[in-house]
């Protein structure tokens, strides 16, 4: 087998193992709840029979192993169980299944919204930050480079909600051109959706551009300092030739890593931004569920976030391996 294929397969294996461990960690969340949590969810009026039925539905009468197999089997088929909320009102029946909603139904439309926002941000942020990073690396120590650098260092230190509120203050209040509430739903037409998502996407863009641009700049400077580039310059190659023919082929790996890493970072940034702009995505759903301690929803959201994060990092690693043969021979 070709060593590249083997390295990639090994890396994929590690990725799957990580996913498995992470799923166990998230699953075990329910194990740590206090023993009487069913009572708290169903309310004081719940009869012992209701509680027993609810515990049976959750599978608390079975071993943790069986429950994990059932849970992960359901998750793989898109079934995340049913929500804890809306169960308290029922005083009889089968644990209030009728009133509560399927977690998958809650998540599906919101997941699409979140993906739309993240995709929109990535579409703007990736080309822009690559451009800024590469140009500031090429003209480093110039006024342009310093300005971009100081601005990005400052933006990195700002909490996401600070950036968001500054933008709201400017574009939503002092000069009201953009909507400050991003309340989209299924029926919102595409252009309207785009317009309403403008401010959240701008906030996210500003936050991740700073990171991405700094990482790109560092990677390119690192590359330009390597002896073979110096050699190419000394041999009389033109500036553009050095960059396109010599530097760029080796730059793909670090750039891919930077992009994937920052898209993974986007996953976290999205939570705060969705709350600021009341954007109906899974980040907001997760925060609401944490407040109401609606564990099945929290588990499902966490699993989605974690899987996205792991898969993006995995892709970055694999691109790094494929494009950089030197990584194949560690020491």
């Amino acid at each position: 087998m070709h060593p590249v294929t083997r390295t990639v397969l090994v890396r994929l294996g590690y990725g799957l193992l990580t996913l498995f461990v992470v799923s166990i960690v998230i699953f075990s969340a329910i194990e740590f709840l206090p023993g009487d949590f069913t009572q708290a969810i169903l309310g004081q009026l719940a009869t012992p029979e209701t509680i027993a039925a609810f515990r049976k539905e959750l599978g608390l009468d079975q071993s943790a192993f069986t429950r994990y197999i059932n849970w992960i089997g359901g998750v793989l088929q898109g079934d995340f169980g049913s929500s804890f909320s809306g169960r308290g009102q029922l005083t009889s029946g089968t644990g209030g299944v009728g009133r509560s909603r399927e977690v998958a139904d809650l998540i599906a439309p919101r997941l699409w919204n979140t993906l739309f926002l993240a995709g929109l941000t990535a579409l703007i942020a990736v080309p822009l930050s690559l451009f800024l990073g590469i140009t500031s690396a090429l003209y480093r120590n110039s006024l342009y480079d310093r300005t971009v650098n100081v601005t990005s260092l400052t933006t990195i230190s700002f909490p996401e909600f600070f950036v968001a509120y500054i933008l709201i203050l400017i574009f939503g209040s002092l000069w009201p051109v953009l909507p400050t509430l991003a309340n989209v739903d299924d029926t919102t037409p595409f252009s309207e959706r785009l317009w309403r998502s403008a401010l959240p996407a701008m906030t996210l863009t500003l936050v991740i551009i700073a990171h991405m641009m700094r990482m790109t700049r560092a990677a390119i400077i690192n590359l330009l300092a390597s002896p073979y580039i110096q050699m190419a310059v000394l041999s009389g190659a033109s500036r553009s030739e050095v960059i396109v023919k010599h530097a760029l082929p080796n730059a793909w790996a670090p750039i891919a890593t930077v992009i994937a890493f920052n898209l993974a970072y986007l996953v976290v940034g999205v939570v705060v931004v969705e709350v600021v702009f009341v954007y109906p995505g899974i980040g907001q759903l997760m925060v609401d569920s944490v407040t109401s301690r609606n564990i099945p929803v929290v588990q499902a959201c966490a699993l989605i976030f974690a899987v996205t994060y792991i898969v993006l990092n995995l892709i970055a690693d694999i691109i790094g391996i494929i494009t950089n043969p030197r990584l194949l021979h560690p020491k």
Partner: protein
């Protein structure tokens, strides 16, 4: 040196008694050479510490003293106005320095205690201890920490003790990695071997042989970790699952007063009110970053190549 080249003598210099400089003197010498950004950073940090320590004397009103005047505009009486239930914003900002920064410092310190000790132990013990801890840390780091923190908070409930423990635990993973990586290089040195042969215990080797040699990167990391922890706690408080009211905290203050921002058109000062605590967070993070930058530059000896 250039000034007195004429009466310079190598003999007198080498013959002069070497004076031992105290830490404070060395700091002053370094400080004189520091760039403007680092001075600014140190200045800001000093102010925050001062405000945090003397909060009860500096604040014009109590931390949760309620006045019957919600959303009061900026005035002589209430310098930054009052919040949604009539508490003085300036007083809450001053107490917030104590609560928000204090909790972040405590969390970072705890993270360093856990991560540092385990990292050192893993580097010294090697073998299965190292393997077990490293794999555990890998698994913890595979989940974004804000998401993991949200999951844990939903299980254990949101109070300050849980918040500190959870964030410290999640952040100790990065400290563990760094400590382990830098101490692996020191563990193989001869003087560690000598200490071992002398029969020193694990604690001695950790504290007296290895720790002094890995301190500079750890101090720089402490600054960066602090920023990260500070921003995470601020984000969680902003989301309403971190520091809970009535404790004055900058993250939750932003959320509580966010609606004022709509009135910026009519009264710019009112619109700026929710941004003040957010700016306080940002300013401290920028300051710490500047100081860490300077410190890294100083200890690593790396110069930006032209």
């Amino acid at each position: 040196m250039k000034k007195n080249t004429e009466n310079y003598s190598a003999v007198s210099e080498s013959g002069a008694i070497l004076e031992r400089r105290s830490t404070w003197q060395r700091f002053l010498i370094d400080f004189k050479k520091s760039p403007i950004s680092a001075r600014f950073g140190l200045f800001v940090i000093a102010i925050y510490i001062f405000v945090a320590i003397f909060a009860p004397w500096l604040a014009p009103y109590g931390e949760s003293q309620v006045f019957p005047a919600p959303y009061e505009p900026w005035s002589k009486e209430f310098i930054f106005g009052t919040d949604q239930i009539g508490r003085d914003i300036l007083s809450r900002m001053i107490y917030g320095a104590r609560n928000t920064v204090g909790i972040a410092v405590a969390t970072t310190a705890l993270a360093f205690l856990i991560g540092g000790v385990l990292g050192l132990a893993a580097a010294i013990a090697k073998g299965w201890v190292d393997q077990l801890l490293s794999r555990l840390v890998d698994a913890l780091m595979a989940i974004p920490s804000l998401i993991f923190a949200l999951v844990l908070l939903s299980i254990f409930g949101t109070n300050i003790i849980n918040l500190i423990m959870i964030i410290a635990l999640l952040d100790s993973t990065r400290v563990f990695r760094l400590t382990r990586a830098v101490s692996l290089n020191v563990v193989v040195m001869d003087f560690v071997e000598a200490a071992r042969l002398r029969g020193e215990g694990l604690a001695w080797i950790m504290r007296r042989e290895i720790l002094p040699n890995i301190l500079p990167p750890l101090i720089a990391e402490f600054g960066l970790r602090f920023c990260f922890v500070f921003l995470t706690i601020a984000a969680l408080s902003f989301l309403g699952v971190g520091i809970q009211p009535p404790t004055a905290d900058w993250g939750s203050m932003v959320r509580e007063n966010a609606s004022l921002i709509q009135f910026a058109q009519y009264d710019l000062k009112a619109g700026l009110t929710p941004l003040l605590p957010a700016a306080a967070i940002a300013l401290l993070t920028v300051a710490v970053n500047f100081v860490v930058d300077w410190f890294l530059h100083k200890t690593s000896g790396i110069r930006d190549e032209q």
